[in-house]
Symmetry: C2
């Protein structure tokens, strides 16, 4: 086990009928006027927006709005938000949405304290020491951003999908009401399942068989698989929605990785792909890439991959476990090959270059073009 620090100060408020608490929570942190960040408008259809603004009004909190954050959120939208936040003199940022909305909000919250916000993605020493407080009402469980200090943004000008992290990026409060996810399309639920499983796997495959974290990560993965299975046939099942929502948060709030090193090569390759193909959902990209990375990682940690195949899938071989993972993704309606994802062979080189440039995943060896190409071949089925 590696040394680690676990310090997650987010207040996580979970359960039925909790969205209406957002005004009271924001007031308790003394914010008076927030920038409400949102996506394409689904929160107006499912009632979440009305509940949020009623709660803000009730607690005397003013707000201005930034709409139109899309999956694979972009830097131009962040810049738009920073301008509004400055002009309107807000003292907090409220994300009402999924990971893309939250990551946009986190970046805006820091962007007021740095001249060029992209600089902090390029050079982590430039992350400012100040940020507006961040509040979250979660509407899609997937990225775990509701309880961690990271954010991923795509710079459309440079074609880079990069990340930053900061202790000030932990939301002060995140409200997670699983019932607001009842109306999600099946594909989004499945993408969330793939994303959460990937977050756990990135850490898990760097573990040892004695690690406590390895033991409970297996429980987390099994819960995600079983509960997403339920949601594929019964999307309004509260127990399954709730269990998946909590598992998706635990998948990336520090719990699933403490004491382990972390790989992140699957995420690097997926970021390269969706930087080129912005319509590729993160979870779908990971469904294609992660099984291929596991095939490649057999030589690096066979002990833990064999354990994973046995404990999570009841299979005796690593290959058997990976096949089961792919079959599960297919069953959930996710793509499992680069072709199904729409990736053209002519873009392989660009994917390879971007992955190598990002530089994640070098725990066992440097990430060379050859490494990435070998993994892409495993995904070319």
């Amino acid at each position: 086990m590696r040394n680690f620090v676990f310090h997650n100060p987010t207040k996580y408020v979970f359960g039925k009928d909790t969205v209406k608490k957002i005004g009271e929570e924001i007031a308790s942190f003394d914010s008076k006027k927030v920038l409400l960040v949102a996506g394409g408008g689904s929160i107006k259809k499912n009632g979440v927006y009305d509940t949020v603004v009623d709660s803000l009004k009730k607690h005397g909190i003013q707000w201005v709005e930034l709409w139109g954050v899309r999956p694979n959120p972009v830097l131009s939208k962040v810049r738009e938000g920073i301008e509004i936040a400055k002009k309107e003199n807000v003292d907090g940022v409220l994300a009402v949405g999924g990971g893309s909305v939250i990551d946009t909000a986190k970046t805006i919250a820091h962007g007021l304290f740095i001249d060029n916000v992209w600089d902090m993605f390029v050079d982590s020493s430039k992350v400012p020491d100040s940020a507006l407080p961040i509040y979250v009402v979660l509407t899609i469980s997937a990225t775990g951003s509701e309880m961690n200090g990271g954010a991923v943004i795509t710079n459309e000008e440079t074609g880079q999908k990069w990340a930053f992290s900061s202790p000030l990026s932990y939301p002060k409060v995140s409200i997670v009401d699983p019932t607001v996810q009842f109306s999600l399309p099946k594909k989004q639920t499945a993408n969330g399942g793939s994303d959460a499983l990937s977050h756990i796997l990135e850490a898990y495959i760097t573990g040892k068989s004695t690690d406590t974290t390895v033991y409970y990560d297996e429980g987390l993965m099994r819960s995600i698989i079983d509960n997403i299975d339920t949601l594929m046939v019964d999307p309004r099942n509260y127990e399954a929605r709730a269990s998946f929502a909590w598992a998706a948060t635990l998948a990336l709030n520090g719990i699933s990785s403490k004491g382990l090193a972390g790989d992140w090569l699957s995420h690097a390759i997926e970021h390269a792909i969706s930087a080129i193909y912005p319509d590729v959902a993160h979870g779908s990209g990971l469904a294609v890439v992660h099984p291929a990375v596991l095939m490649y990682r057999r030589k690096h940690n066979p002990e833990i991959l064999k354990r994973w195949a046995q404990q999570v899938w009841g299979e005796n071989t690593i290959e058997g476990g990976i096949e089961r993972l792919r079959a599960k993704y297919k069953e959930w309606g996710l793509p499992i090959s680069l072709k199904e994802l729409g990736v053209k062979p002519s873009d392989w080189q660009s994917i390879i270059d971007k992955t190598v440039e990002l530089g994640w995943g070098d725990l066992w060896e440097p990430i060379t073009p050859q490494v990435v190409e070998e993994i892409l071949r495993y995904a070319d089925i």
Copy 2:
């Protein structure tokens, strides 16, 4: 799944060679003079005391000392600490020890802000809104007090072993270096294992088979069993010490219980026993009581107990699982019957009365004398 709030602000610093960071951490929270609370002196033998005071000196932090906290910590020692803290005008409390030392420190930290500190144990509305900041260097993994807001103290005058909790009882920082536990007697390691398993079981047996928390609790329990097994033959095994230490923290920092109701009847009966027999270690008391409570709870949640028997022990019946738990405790050198614990039949009535008075464990039915007696009979083997 039940609604819940997870908000654990403790900064948890884990790993080899971390004790020396305590001065820097305390300084970062602006404490200038702390009350150092400790037990019987083992920290002077294993070098922890020297490392702590060197670090305090290096960072210009003054301290005064309170020694002699014993297992099943007592109110008189708390009162002694409050007097010193007042007289010496300290602005923080530093626990260097295990759960008893931490709980004494937590109570002292609140005791400066209430006339009679026992009042807050009797009436939770009297817990003060202020407390000195609490810092921890952990030397025995067992109670989880290093990362939660609770404390248990025995009032020697009334014979009550009772608890209080407060958001201000979460330590600001807890440092957990597994290597300082290399020299623990086997019995204490085994007691820690029993205590941690009990914390998980109190929550787990109130769960449903769909609950994410149930899934990863099984992983936590299996890790504890496997790693304590290792420590029984190889007490200086770092990986096992580290994995057990992290698991014992997770067993009672909120993670193992979120979304579940919690039973706590085993703890109620054990508190009654060790209030009468102060030499009974908490973990040993639980090793006797918890299997008996599980026998009794078969009628209340057979689904989850059957799952537990299968997932944790590979047994097909609840009784088979409970037998395996008892056999494991016996293998670790723990008592498994009231007789082995030294409990006299003439004290049963007093144990029953104290358990009923404490009032924990009434999720499924009121706790009557008949209920407690039936459980004691299951422990009378």
